[in-house]
């Protein structure tokens, strides 16, 4: 892991969808389909301090024997090693809000599925810190019903 992130983090994949991670394990765990679809290629990570990192690619770590590779192919989750530039770009609160709102608009269908889109937009607009926004979005993302 080359990135020194403060969790939770918000990630934006190349295709534009949002994903949130509370720990390093959640950030670097994936299924074979997710990895093969290129989720980690050009992935943007914004941590709770407002540092933005870019991941170039990810390589599976620890798949040394045949049994582990077989488990990976039948759908078990495995860990990957993220490869990218460790240098971060610092985002201000205003810049982060713009970035987050743009991404939320792209992911509107997901938030509309729970009827929370407008609520989320209002929360982001009125938020006072980057950490607060990411924590709020992360708790909604992992909430189970």
């Amino acid at each position: 892991m080359v990135f020194d992130c403060k969790y939770p983090v918000m990630t934006v994949a190349k295709k534009g969808y949002l994903y949130f991670a509370r720990t390093e394990e959640e950030l670097t765990s994936c299924t074979y389909t997710g990895w093969k679809n290129g989720h980690f290629n050009d992935l943007k990570i914004v941590d709770s301090n407002g540092n933005r990192y870019t991941v170039k690619e990810a390589k599976p770590s620890g798949q040394s024997n045949v049994l582990q590779k077989l488990k990976m192919l039948v759908g078990a989750k495995f860990r990957v090693e993220l490869i990218g530039d460790p240098a971060a770009t610092q985002l201000s609160l205003v810049e982060f809000k713009e970035f987050a709102l743009k991404q939320l608009k792209k992911n509107r269908s997901f938030f509309d599925a729970g009827g929370t889109y407008q609520e989320t937009i209002e929360y982001v607009n009125n938020a006072q810190s980057i950490e607060g926004i990411i924590s709020h979005l992360t708790s909604g993302f992992y909430k189970t019903y």
């Binding site: 994949a13 295709k15 969808y17 994903y19 765990s29 994936c30 299924t31 074979y32 389909t33 997710g34 990895w35 679809n37 989720h39 980690f40 759908g75 989750k77 997901f110 599925a113 729970g114 009827g115 929370t116 909604g140 993302f141 992992y142 909430k143 189970t144 019903y145």
Partner: protein, 154 residues
Amino acid sequence: MKNWLKRDRCEFSFQHIQSPMTPDKIVFRLPDNQSYKFDIRETTRFSNTIGIAQTSHTLRSEISLLYRTLDSTKQPFNVSARFIKMDISDDTYDGAKNQMWNLMPMKSQIMHQAVHGLGPNALGPLGRLWFGTPTWFKTSIFSTGGRIADDLEE
């Protein structure tokens, strides 16, 4: 004309602007006196576009969906009919697919994302079929499959 229908957690009304048969807006009132307006003209326009009259089924489905999504749980719903492919814009498309028979409650947003085949936890084709399709459709597959197997046996 307003018809307020009370439910246990929220109430909603129809605002008939054009005619009683085609209400333009549904207004939800939540217990904390917040209101939420939903414009259903998109659905009506969709119905007019493809030449089908807006049925009460469509309207009931919209109300049911909104009622459930605006409920305090705010559970996300997956719209599962991947077989519907129509060459119309996204905003009108929702009116056709947000039907009661086509919705699947999701355990969480992360699960919803996985069912769409997105994110690091993306499911494969079988997983998406199993977790993202309503039970009635899956049981009908097994039912039909079982009957065919029975016929072949005989």
